[in-house]
Amino acid sequence: MTTQWTLVCKQADLVANAGVAAMVNNEQVALFYLPESENKVFAIANWDPIGKANVLSRGLTAHLQGEWVVASPLYKQHYILSSGECLEEDICLPHWKAKLDGDDVYIAEH
């Protein structure tokens, strides 16, 4: 099956080395733009299951032990941007494949 891509926004809507929130099919997605990473853009759920609020797009990004991660702005757990895995707890967030195509930002449907 070929991947179905959804257009979310323009590159100009993103903030380099940080996150923004988007609404895709009624789901809150945290989009990160990391110009120095191989994949450039990443998408994980905006919902912080520990803080119980939609805030992950507002966390600080970091590069730890070879992985691009975001730190929750509430209680500072780290989530790997490519897999949604939490470094501290046994939790995995919903995550989407994401790509930058010219000026357009896409994420893959689940």
Partner: protein
């Protein structure tokens, strides 16, 4: 009758009865040593849950769930072929044919048996002890039942003023009950404390509104008049209470031993030898049910040592055995420090005693020493446990006491160090008693490559039991690293092999203006949430650039990035600056109007200003536009920067004021408001020595005198309150400001990230005197540079919110969603006391259910 057969295996069958902390530790240890290859292992536990951390049981009332307390979720057992059964009470042992009978009628055979059945709470047979609303405090189910009952009543009483009784009393108090403790003995904690110590503790506990009845025997419990129960005491008085919790000691759970005819102590307990074998070679007993040398050990550390000894014997390792255990304890009970070491009651023949008592700060300390005064035999501490670690080490390792032995319990005078350097500890010194880890074990771990406290914990398990040894553990690890010539890493993170102070100097000397430039030149990788905000703060301290400039934006923690404080539901609070707490009626009205328009929760803060809560990301710029139009500025409540300068009204209004504290406070707040610093900074100015502004609890405190101003530095409230130190007296306005400039800039230049001024100053070699030398006598020749640095910051101040409103690029980032105009549906408010507050999870579900 069904029977459980071990899997078709020819390995001998090892059965563990009891899955408490010690039974679980036994399984962990035997797996770790490969014993699950030699034995087929089966575990039975009576409780519905697998082993959990009973030591921290009380945390079940303060937010931890059963899952947080669990010591295993069963994977360790599954992965290693250990069969386990919860809700399974073993009722009989038939030693002749080596079989067990379970309550549900099943039987099985064993080759080796381990009894780890723990103990049960003793309930004194007072008439009425079985009434409703009476409880014990041992299991998760007990706590569930107590919590349910506490919801409907107001008064609770604990019978028993020992260690556990007081812990239970604390729990009742936390559940919101009016709490009393009734103790039969003449003092609290009779086992650990002497009479004086017990009475100091009683005073402290009564000070927090827990009623204490010592020397009081309960005759009967009957129906109450105002409450559910009435407890009639032997002396004819009575106490009415709704809930009774018995904590009158524990008794070994030895029913199986009795039934099967194993040798037992006169007062119970299963007799064991140094290998933890009972009178039947095939049966071991460990933990609180076991009686060694006629002693029961009611703590987890000795149980763990027994578990290791039993595993050793089963696996033919003759080097481990159980030869008793130290019962010293330190705890915090109802907020009061209590410690007891060794022979607390000075029962040793010829022993001598030193006592120190301070009735003002309520502390009591006693040392029991040997007849010749050379060795420490025991100690009692009430009120301050900072003396405990050192005393325990002298005791455990029989180290010769210093000449002035009493210095070990006297308060530190003139900052002279008391205590024992970890260097002085012998290699055999026990550092972590829960996991029996010695100084040698730590030294070995470090030599084998464990180069941090975290690594050492992983290898040795030290510090992962009760946690009481954490501070000592860190000292020993650091000391070992130093001895190896390994520098104790002060690197800020994996991206920069520098301290914050190094980075500050690099930024300044090499005129580095962005994170990327600094990373490229002096770091590696891509940065993280530790180094980014730290460097962001340094860049702001040195260059005072707008923090939301494109190249700085991703460095800011969420609060700094959106110039507001994030709340638990993802909304923000807004705190405009209100210098000195002075505000006009017009501005108050504007704040009120804004709060009304956006339906914000409004509160006066602890820092004399007004906080508006519940604004969404997208509302922030709109709200600030209105506030700025009315003349407000950002209060930087989000930043590591100057928070507030608290002030009293001072000489303008107050009949006692000797100087205009209000004007000074406003001037100081306006001067330092732009400074980004390693941690937040708070000031206060009082108009006279009555000190209504609490200046001595601030980083910078100023108090008016007849001759000018007294300056106090490096105080704080918060987690570890500390009064500021008097730095200089009777200063004129100009000198006062000059000194503050220098102190703050020196702090900003040299402190670690997130280090408050107090910790910073205490860490300077020479402390307060050194700081005076640098700031007043200009010992380092730095004063001009420090003043210039500050005047640059003062001159380049900008209100970050004002700049943001003028910058369309920055404003764009305040959208809730990049592709959608709606709001976050998870942000839901309900009303309380005529204002909004975030809905709880439960309320949200109900609201959604109603809508849906």
């Amino acid at each position: 009758m069904t029977s459980i057969k071990p899997l078709s295996t020819n390995k001998p069958h090892l059965v563990v009865v009891g899955n408490g902390m010690v039974g679980h530790h036994f399984v962990e240890q035997i797996i770790e040593q490969g014993g699950h290859e030699n034995f087929h292992i089966t575990v039975f536990g009576e409780e519905p849950n697998l082993a959990y951390d009973r030591v921290h049981l009380s945390e079940y009332f303060t937010g931890k769930g059963a899952a947080d307390l669990a010591m295993t979720d069963g994977t360790l057992y599954d992965d290693n072929g250990v069969c386990y059964f919860t809700n399974s009470l073993v009722t009989e042992i038939n030693r002749d044919d080596k079989t067990l009978l379970l309550q549900d009628g099943r039987t099985l055979s064993y080759d080796k048996l381990v009894l780890a059945t723990g103990s049960y709470p003793f309930v004194p047979p007072i008439p009425g002890h079985k009434r409703d609303n009476t409880f014990v405090y041992r299991t998760l189910e007990d706590l569930d039942a107590i919590r349910n009952c506490a919801k409907t009543v107001t008064r609770g009483t604990v019978v028993g003023g020992g260690l556990l009784g007081l812990e239970a009393a604390n729990a009742l108090k936390n559940l919101g009950l009016e709490t009393s403790v009734v103790e039969f003995a003449p003092r609290l904690m009779p086992v650990q404390l002497d009479e004086k110590g017990g009475s100091v503790l009683k005073g402290m506990i009564e000070g927090i509104d827990v009623k204490v009845y010592t020397d009081t025997a309960t005759k009967e419990i009957i129906d109450g008049e105002d409450a559910f129960h009435r407890m009639n005491f032997a002396d004819g008085t009575y106490l009415e209470t709704d809930l009774i919790l018995f904590s009158a000691g524990i008794r070994p759970q030895d029913a199986l031993a009795k039934q099967s005819g194993l040798a037992m102590g006169e007062r119970g307990g299963i007799t064991i030898n140094n290998h933890c074998q009972t009178s039947d070679d095939a049966i071991y007993s460990i933990g609180e049910c076991a009686l060694w040398n006629n002693m029961i050990f009611g703590l987890v550390a000795p149980g763990y040592t027994m578990a290791k000894a039993a595993v050793g014997h089963l696996l033919d390792d003759v080097t481990v055995s159980f030869t008793g255990s130290d019962m010293s304890t330190k705890l915090k009970l109802l907020g009061c420090d209590v410690g007891s070491v060794g022979d607390a009651h000075a029962k040793t023949q010829g022993s001598k005693v030193f006592v120190y008592q301070d009735e003002i700060s309520q502390s009591y300390r006693k040392m029991v020493v040997s007849e010749d005064g050379k060795k420490l035999l025991g100690a009692v501490l009430v009120g301050d446990n900072s003396y405990y670690d050192t005393l325990l080490q002298y005791y455990l390792n029989a180290i010769d006491l210093p000449e002035q032995a009493q210095s070990l319990i006297l308060p530190a005078m003139d900052g002279a160090p008391v205590g024992l350097g970890v260097d002085a500890l012998p290699a055999t010194a026990s550092i972590c008693s829960c996991h029996n880890v010695s100084k040698q074990d730590i030294s070995d771990a470090v030599c084998n490559g464990a180069l941090s406290v975290g690594d050492v914990k992983g290898v040795t398990k030290a510090g992962t039991g009760c946690g009481g040894c954490a501070a000592l553990l860190k000292k020993v690890v650091d000391n070992e690293l130093l001895a190896l010539g390994v520098e104790v890493s002060t690197d800020i993170c994996e991206h920069f092999a520098y301290t914050r102070q190094d980075l500050y100097n690099l930024v300044k000397i090499e005129e580095i203006k962005s994170f990327d430039a600094l990373l490229k030149k002096h770091g590696k990788g891509h940065g993280c949430e530790i180094c980014k905000p730290a460097v962001g703060s340094i860049l702001a301290s040195v260059w005072n650039d707008y923090v939301l400039k494109k190249e700085h934006i991703s460095l800011q923690d969420t609060n700094d990035r959106f110039l507001a404080n994030m709340q638990k539901d993802g909304t923000y609070s807004i705190v405009p600056r209100i210098p000195g707490g002075e505000i006009t009626a017009e501005r108050l009205i504007v704040m009120g109007e804004v709060a009304k328009e956006y339906n914000l929760y409004t509160k006066i803060t602890g820092g004399q200003r007004i906080d508006l809560f519940g604004a969404t990301l997208a509302q922030l710029p709109e709200i600030w536009e209105k506030l700025i139009a009315a003349g407000f500025e950002t209060g930087q409540a989000y930043g590591k920067s100057l928070r507030t300068v608290k002030s009293c009204v001072g000489s303008t209004w107050c009949r006692y004021g000797v100087n205009d504290s209000m004007k000074m406070a406003i001037d100081l707040e306006n001067r330092y408001k732009g400074l980004r610093s390693p941690h937040k900074i708070k000031f206060a100015v009082s108009g006279c020595t009555r000190e209504c502004a609490e200046a001595q609890s601030k980083d910078i405190g100023v108090i008016a005198t007849e001759g000018g101003w007294n300056l106090y530095v490096c105080g704080n409230g918060g987690m570890k309150p500390r009064h500021g130190d008097l730095f200089a007296t009777d200063l004129d306005d100009e000198t006062l400001v000059k000194y503050i400039d220098r102190v703050l800039m020196f702090y900003t230049k040299t402190a670690d990230r997130l280090q408050r001024t107090s910790v910073w100053m205490d860490g300077l070699e020479g402390g307060l005197e050194y700081l005076k030398d640098v700031v007043i006598k200009d010992k380092l020749g730095l004063c001009d540079e420090l003043e210039e640095g500050m005047s640059h910051i003062v001159d380049t101040f900008q209100c970050e919110w004002k700049t943001t409103l003028e910058d369309p690029e920055a404003l764009k980032t305040f959208r809730q969603f990049v592709n959608y105009e709606g709001a976050d549906k998870n942000v839901v408010f309900v009303e309380e006391r005529d204002q909004v507050r975030p809905a709880t999870d439960l309320e949200k579900q109900q609201l959604i259910a109603k809508v849906g």
